[in-house]
């Protein structure tokens, strides 16, 4: 156990976490040089494309120190986005130390801070690492200053590296071995292991990633999940060396996997404690909680025939993403679907993309919503995350919406534009910090609802990529809310309804009406698109009817040619949804959500 080190790499998005992980893997010689590809741990296409880590992956790196001593270094990769703070916290709880990675040209960013605080909460050893020192714009002294001033770290202890060029990798490894304490615990104690991740393997069932704190576990043992008492017989244990490598047992201090025939997907919960059924531990490991979604949206199959297939895909998906919650939902316009809760907007986008790419689903998602609270005239309170359940307006005494404390760090020169963006989004009570020269941190209170829709994109655009955002929920505040309905030829399109602040309703309604006008094809008749609050129309657009589309003749006896043309068109229309007598292409539901970056 003295030769084991458990660590994570934490960093602001794009600061080079995956590249550093690649170098460490390469250095350990786990992968033959020619099979090596960039971002080994980011196995999903979407992770590689976006340059973010979504699923944490784990890898055990063998390391021989210069003095010949052999170590096992367990790298527990963490998701790199604020939406996944719970997953990050479980990964951090499995470590004794972290590498805090900072980009030498960009310096300390909002998530650097958030990550540092998370690591400190878990009382971890922090090794500051300054990455990308090869860049022409690298300013190591500036970053050192920020580390001292903004992070309160001893910058003399910072390790310098360039993961891209492979410089400083040995220093990083030495620092891990030298500074991070070995795990404590005893393999004689009752088993206590923390689930920090789970994957689904179509052949083996659920594969649980865990950190063993006390005791040991081996094939044949009967284990118990403490949150729900479910018991399973262990089939295999082992460690991750890019691929799974079976071991005789996992003991205190180890990080690895357990396969135990868990078929009921919902039985695995990240953060849960595993113990032995015959000799259980007294108390579970601290910090377990159910993932709490803050953003909600409904997912519908484009073709209602695919409902069961979507249901199946979500069930499988959920195994690898414990933070997604969902339940059945239905819409007049879109049929049967699911109401889903997400950790944040990025999480929503990832679920959407993965369902489409990996599970081959064609889906429509509705406008994201937050959880609103309404106190009604009979003294009761209802919580509503779905506009469908918006209470009758006259019964509402008090409406409330969730607020966040948003922290934005940006170069001073963008301050005006960012202030305007935030004020447009109903931000209040700005506070300013000047952590170092030329940089400013603005802290606002603002409604979560204003952030879930395209705020981050806008911020990135306005600041040319230099602005960074972190946020925390701070509770509910009273608000003036209305339900906005969209009507197409008089028929309400329930999937486009939205609960929104009164002052923002018209702007949104106009935007939706204009977008729909572009997306809905011309019909045989005129189509009116309206935005309405209650019975009052506040926005309107019109799709004109087409005037003539019939072709002159039906070629001699050649009926097939014309029919084939229509069959092709008909296929295209299959992807449309009928609302009353109007066909709305699925793209329209997506277009309504598109960020407006003019």
């Amino acid at each position: 156990m003295a030769n084991i080190r458990n660590f994570s790499i934490i960093a602001h998005i794009d600061h080079g976490k995956s590249t550093l992980a690649d170098r460490l893997i390469q250095y350990a010689g786990l992968v033959p040089e020619r099979q090596f590809r960039d971002q080994m741990l980011d196995t999903m296409d979407i992770e590689r494309e976006r340059g973010i880590t979504i699923k944490s992956q784990t890898v055990t790196l063998p390391y021989t120190a210069p003095d010949g001593e052999e170590f096992e270094l367990n790298l527990i990769d963490t998701p790199g986005h604020v939406d996944f703070s719970y997953e990050v916290s479980r990964a951090l709880a499995s470590c004794e130390g972290v590498l805090l990675l900072v980009d030498a040209s960009q310096g300390v960013q909002a998530q650097t801070l958030a990550n540092l605080y998370a690591a400190m909460e878990h009382d971890l050893t922090i090794i500051p690492v300054i990455n990308k020192i090869d860049l022409p714009a690298a300013d190591v002294d500036m970053v050192r200053e920020q580390m001292e001033g903004e992070l309160g770290l001893d910058s003399d202890l910072a390790v310098l590296c360039s993961a891209k060029e492979g410089r400083g990798i040995e220093d990083v490894l030495e620092a891990i071995v030298e500074r991070i304490p070995p795990p404590s615990g005893s393999s004689q104690n009752p088993l206590s292991a923390l689930i920090f991740d789970a994957h689904y393997d179509p052949f083996r069932g659920t594969i649980v990633s865990c950190r063993v704190f006390e005791g040991s576990v081996q094939p044949g043992d009967v284990i118990r999940f403490m949150s729900n008492g479910a018991v399973y017989r262990v089939e295999e244990v082992g460690i991750f060396k890019i691929t799974r490598e079976p071991r005789k047992r996992l003991s205190a201090g180890d990080v690895g996997y357990i396969i135990s025939g868990v078929k009921t997907l919902s039985d695995t919960r990240v953060g849960d404690t595993i113990t032995l059924d015959s000799k259980p531990t007294d108390s579970p490991l601290p910090g377990f909680k159910e993932a709490k979604p803050v953003v909600f949206s409904s997912i519908y199959p484009i073709s209602s025939d695919d409902y069961l297939s979507l249901s199946d895909a979500l069930e499988k998906y959920k195994l690898n993403d414990a933070s997604l919650v969902y339940q059945k939902d239905s819409s007049v316009a879109l049929g049967q679907g699911f109401r889903c809760g997400f950790l944040g907007l990025l999480h929503l986008e990832i679920v959407q993309e993965r369902l489409e790419r990996e599970y081959d689903q064609s889906i429509i998602m509705t406008v994201p919503s937050v959880e609103y609270r309404f106190a009604l005239d009979d003294g009761s309170t209802v919580v509503v995350d779905n506009p469908q359940y918006y209470p009758e307006a006259i019964r509402i005494r008090v409406a409330e919406e969730p607020y966040i404390k948003a922290s934005i760090i940006l170069p001073e020169r963008y301050m005006g534009a960012v202030m305007k963006l935030c004020m447009d989004r109903r931000a209040v009570n700005p506070r300013f910090n000047y952590p170092s020269a030329g940089r400013v941190e603005i802290v606002f209170d603002m409604p979560l609802a204003e952030v879930v829709f395209d705020f981050y994109d806008r911020l990135k655009t306005i600041t040319q990529g230099y602005g960074s955002l972190d946020y925390d929920l701070i509770g509910y505040r009273e608000s003036s809310l209305v339900k906005l309905d969209i009507l197409v030829n008089g028929e309400k399109v329930d999937a486009l309804s939205l609960i929104v602040h009164r002052d923002r309703a018209r702007e949104w309604a106009v935007q939706v009406c204009d977008r729909l006008k572009e997306e809905i094809p011309r019909h045989q008749f005129k189509i009116a698109i309206q935005g309405a609050i209650g019975g009052k129309i506040i926005a309107r657009s019109t799709v004109n009817a087409f005037r003539k589309d019939v072709t002159a003749k039906c070629y001699g006896g050649d009926i097939s040619r014309k029919r084939k043309l229509l069959e092709k068109q008909k296929k295209g229309k299959k992807r449309m949804k009928m609302v009353g007598s109007v066909m709305i292409p699925q793209g329209a539901f997506v277009a309504v959500l598109r960020s407006d970056n003019e």
Partner: protein, 371 residues
């Protein structure tokens, strides 16, 4: 069997003296292959003669049937009569080019048993005719129509085209008036369809001619319908008008009503029992295959029930007879769509039929997609 449901026989004459610049029907201008084509046709007739016992119509189209010499046309009709039987009162149509029309030709055609003639006038404006690549003039067309109307044919149809390059609504009205003056029994008024691969299609691709816009199409169509309806013609299909119901083209209606038909000759199409097939287009390939006893078929498809349904819809919506409600088959609920279409004056639903209005005929191509 009702005459309406009897099969039709189509014979494709793939020869023209000159090619029109808009036409994408298969034809060649060399008449050298006529004897060989006649021989092949005879072979194809033998192959197909037992498919249907009796026909309700014959349609001799092309190409230009009147480009054939009299003895050639005589051989052709002899072959037809030898192998196929026609019901009493069957419609026997032939297409004629105004340039080929003369008293003798008309007598000959009547002698051969034709009782309906369709004159490919297209326009009476010499400039328009030139741009279309037609070989006749407006004067010649009028002369031909004069002859035809007094020749003894008691069912005469005139083909006209609108939406031509440089054609104004006024010029179109003039052509219509000049045609109607002869009181033909039937008129086909087609909007020019620009087909890729034709000389006009190539000009359009190069941007050297600009197809008319949707608003003009709309105006031409409505004007045509209103003008001819006022002259007491029945607008019974998108492009077709008849003085009386009995002058509606029986043969073409078989296509729209999905009655069976047999097509002989290169590029001809046939339909029987949910099977559609078509012949190779090239004359030499057509002759070659038949010379070795092979059927000259190049494509064949068996229609699924969904395809049959779609055909019933799109063909039905082109005619004022409309679509049987039963043709909608199993679909969730057509009521809201029908209601909307009725409300906006696109269709009328009555006596178990969905009948397109004039406004409905304008959008007949997209109607089937709604169901």
């Amino acid at each position: 069997m009702n005459k309406r449901e009897l099969p039709g026989l189509y014979i494709h004459v793939p020869f023209c003296r000159s090619k029109c610049r808009y036409c994408d029907f298969y034809s060649i201008t060399s008449l050298d292959l006529v004897p060989e084509w006649l021989e092949a046709l005879e072979r194809e007739a033998v192959l197909r003669k037992n498919l249907f016992p009796v026909f309700g119509s014959l349609y001799l189209g092309g190409g230009t049937p009147t480009a054939l010499m009299e003895h050639e046309a005589g051989l052709l009709m002899e072959c037809v009569r030898r192998h196929f039987r026609f019901a009493e009162g069957a419609e026997m149509s032939v297409e004629a080019n105004p340039d080929d029309v003369c008293r003798e030709k008309l007598c000959f055609l009547l002698d051969q048993g034709f009782n309906r003639i369709s004159i490919g006038v297209q326009s009476f404006d010499d400039g328009e005719l030139r741009r279309l690549g037609r070989r006749h003039t407006g004067r010649k067309a009028e002369a031909a129509l004069g002859l035809v109307m007094s020749s003894g044919f008691d069912n005469v149809s005139v083909d006209l085209m609108y939406g031509l390059e440089g054609q104004s609504l006024t010029s179109w009205a003039r052509s219509l008036r000049r045609a109607v003056k002869f009181e033909p029994h039937h008129l086909s008024c087609y909007q020019l369809t620009i087909e890729p691969g034709t000389p006009i299609g190539r000009l359009a691709e190069e941007g050297r001619i600009v197809p008319i816009d949707e608003d003009s199409e709309h105006s031409f169509f409505l004007f045509t319908s209103r003008f001819l309806t006022q002259k007491r013609y029945i607008h019974y299909e998108v492009s077709n008008f008849a003085r009386k119901p009995q002058f509606e083209c029986m043969h073409n209606k078989k296509y729209w009503n999905r009655a069976p038909y047999l097509g002989l000759g290169p590029g001809a199409h046939s339909f029987k029992d949910a099977v559609r097939w078509s012949n190779v287009k090239s004359v030499s390939e057509y002759c070659g295959k038949l010379s070795v006893g092979e059927p000259p078929v190049c494509s064949r498809e068996v229609l699924s029930s969904e395809q049959v349904r779609l055909e019933k819809l799109f063909l039905g919506f082109r005619t004022r007879a409309g679509v049987d409600l039963s043709a909608l088959g199993s679909m969730p609920d057509p009521a809201p769509i029908l209601k909307q279409l009725e409300k906006t004056g696109i269709v009328r639903v009555r006596r178990g039929k969905i009948v397109p209005t004039l406004k409905g005929l304008l959008v007949a191509d997209s109607l089937p997609l709604l169901f």
